[in-house]
């Protein structure tokens, strides 16, 4: 177990380096001068540009720049924007609401998706099954901004950045709607497949009540693909929140990246994406470790 975790952690390093390097290169490769228009109507004095370039290591080789950035990152310093605001503060301001939104979306999609999946998986081809299948088809084919606008106009919602959890339910529903459809379908397939397994027949033959057969024996064995999906989805929800945040006017991570990439504040963009990638990697590790809890047959060599 310990060796498995260690090996997985070691495998994370190249992925982490690769992602941050690609983002860093791309952001600083944007083909225009980041300091153009920073000094109002007149062109910037050469001293200013020279100092800024030196401060942001822009005159170094790309690899040197990247290594310098990484070095700072490992001491917990995300760097600062061109106007001297600490990126750490910016992220700390924007992150909580995005995390709350993503977690709410995850809970909503997990609960509704699992319940719908279990109900339909147990009774294949019934009325409810067809209803849920059609509903998931529609959820998958509606673009997020569309559901967002319809629900926003329908409920007349506006959300402030200090919104209580209750206000985030509708945006969370919008954000999680697509994944909810996937969760429902995954659960349905998985339950339907395991329903005919020997251990379920044994459990029924032992005379266990139906709720226990389904809730413990069947669900625990069927939930592994769903857990995989939910785990890796948290990172995707945070990164994908940009559209939902735009529709509901929430000032979270998505808006932060969008504004800053247009101003070529490479430090901010790299910082946020690095965080999101870390969340994704951490979640996929946690999910892999959860497998053994759900299914004791799984061993880590």
């Amino acid at each position: 177990m310990g060796r498995y975790v260690l090996r997985r952690l070691l495998q994370l390093i190249p992925v982490f380096l690769g992602t941050t390097f690609i983002i860093y290169t791309l952001v600083w490769a944007i083909p225009s001068d980041p300091f153009a228009g920073k000094c109002g109507q007149r062109p910037c004095p050469p001293e200013y540009v020279a100092k800024m370039r030196a401060d942001f290591n822009l005159d170094d080789n790309l690899f040197v720049q990247y290594v310098k950035y990484l070095g700072k990152l490992f001491t917990g310093d995300f760097g600062q924007t061109f106007s001297g605001v600490k990126v750490g503060t910016l992220i700390a301001d924007a992150y909580p609401i995005t995390i709350r939104l993503a977690v709410i979306a995850l809970v909503i999609e997990g609960v509704i998706g699992l319940v719908a999946g279990v109900l339909t998986g147990l009774r294949k081809n019934g009325f409810l099954d067809n209803l849920v299948l059609v509903a998931t088809l529609f959820l998958i084919s509606l673009p997020v901004f569309f559901t967002g606008y319809v629900l926003k106009v329908g409920f007349g919602i506006s959300v402030s950045s200090t919104a209580p959890l209750g206000d985030l339910i509708v945006p969370g529903f919008v954000l999680g709607s697509l994944s909810m459809a996937y969760v429902a379908r995954l659960t349905r397939t998985s339950i339907a497949e395991n329903r005919r397994a020997d251990f379920v027949r044994t459990a029924i033959a032992k005379g266990l009540p139906g709720s226990r057969v389904v809730g413990v024996h069947l669900l625990r064995n069927s939930v592994i693909p769903v857990v995989t999906f939910l785990g890796t989805d948290l990172g995707a929800l945070m990164g994908g929140a940009i559209v939902t945040e735009g529709v509901f006017n929430i000032h979270g991570i998505g808006g932060l990246v969008f504004i800053n990439i247009q101003q070529q504040q490479g430090v901010v963009v790299t910082g946020v994406v690095t965080l999101l990638v870390l969340v994704y990697l951490a979640m996929s590790l946690i999910v892999d470790l959860l497998y053994a809890v759900l299914d004791p047959r799984i061993r880590y060599e």
Partner: protein, 312 residues
């Protein structure tokens, strides 16, 4: 009056069932085709897709109004007998624009899917076939792109290729949108292909081919590919729908296709600021996107069920 052709066509099928033995066993493909022909969802989605393709190829058949003609007198006018779907902000006919927008949206969807499947398929089959360190290397490489959130990654790529404020040409931006979608979504196709290859590699016919001295290229193209291509094709159908939605999302954010290109995404992005005053400008192109995505996802679903004997 009984139709002799129908009776004749039915006969061999009956025989197969009665005798249980048949001269020519049905392959998985023709089995799936028999299953599919009877499915209403398959037929509905096929008809919808044919209509959408016809709209992309011959938009003139569906409307005689020019999509770029604009009359500010009609700006934001609601649906009427003249313009079924109303007029947009510039006073152009929303129906005509939606018809003419099909081509760009479908092009992006098709080419992005093609790119995804090609990159993912090649990398997946190589990783699965060679295994060992090639596999780990390629899997980690795929993780890099899988971990990057799609929308954020696309924003970064699109803005790197076009500096803010620049105005690239029509073909250029189209290929850039295709490129960014393909680059960010190939890991899924790669995983599907890799899993299928790992299974097929263990089969006896591959061992036999290897024993007969077949080279890696021959094994991959003659033996592995025909047996691994089905799950990727099913994924491609569903991904095609998703990519059309992705084009709309990118355009909505203002980084995808942009005027003078006419596409559903561009229409949606134009309508963004007028939703409260004139919801029909957003609703109709969004409905076109939804119905098209729905058709492709439904098709993918039906094909997957037909090819998966377990689900029967």
């Amino acid at each position: 009056m009984s139709d002799p052709a129908v009776v004749a066509a039915d006969e061999p099928e009956l025989e197969q069932i009665v005798t249980g033995k048949q001269d020519k066993p049905r392959s998985l493909g023709s089995d799936a085709w028999h299953e599919l022909r009877r499915k209403p969802t398959f037929l509905i989605s096929l008809i919808l897709i044919l209509i959408v393709v016809a709209m992309a190829l011959f938009p003139g058949l569906f409307t005689h109004v020019s999509p770029t003609a604009a009359d500010l007198n009609h700006a934001r006018g609601g649906p009427s007998a003249q313009a079924w779907f109303g007029y947009d902000v510039q006073g152009s006919d929303v129906y005509a624009r939606a018809i003419y927008g099909t081509r760009a949206s479908l092009l992006v969807g098709v080419f992005a899917t093609l790119g995804t499947v090609l990159i993912g398929g090649i990398v997946g089959i190589v990783a699965g076939f060679y295994g060992r360190w090639t596999d780990s290397l390629l899997a980690r490489f795929a993780d890099i792109f899988a971990g990057m959130p799609f929308v954020l990654g696309a924003i970064v790529i699109m803005l790197t290729l076009n500096a803010p404020g620049s105005n690239p040409g029509e073909t250029r931006i189209l290929s850039q949108v295709v490129f960014s979608i393909a680059v960010l979504s190939w890991p899924v196709a790669m995983r599907i292909m890799r899993a299928a290859t790992l299974v097929a590699k263990q089969q006896d016919y591959v061992k036999a081919a290897r024993g007969l001295g077949a080279g890696p290229l021959r094994i991959i193209f003659r033996h592995l590919l025909p047996n691994t291509v089905a799950p990727v094709m099913v994924y491609a159908t569903i991904a095609l729908g998703a990519n059309i939605g992705a084009e709309a999302t990118l355009a909505y954010l203002g980084i995808g296709l942009r005027p003078p290109v006419v596409s559903w995404g561009v229409m949606i992005s134009d309508a963004r600021d007028y939703v409260a005053a004139a919801p029909h400008i957003l609703l109709f192109p969004a409905a076109f996107v939804s119905v098209t995505v729905l058709a492709f996802v439904m098709l993918g679903d039906a094909v997957r069920d037909a090819f998966d004997p377990k689900s029967r």
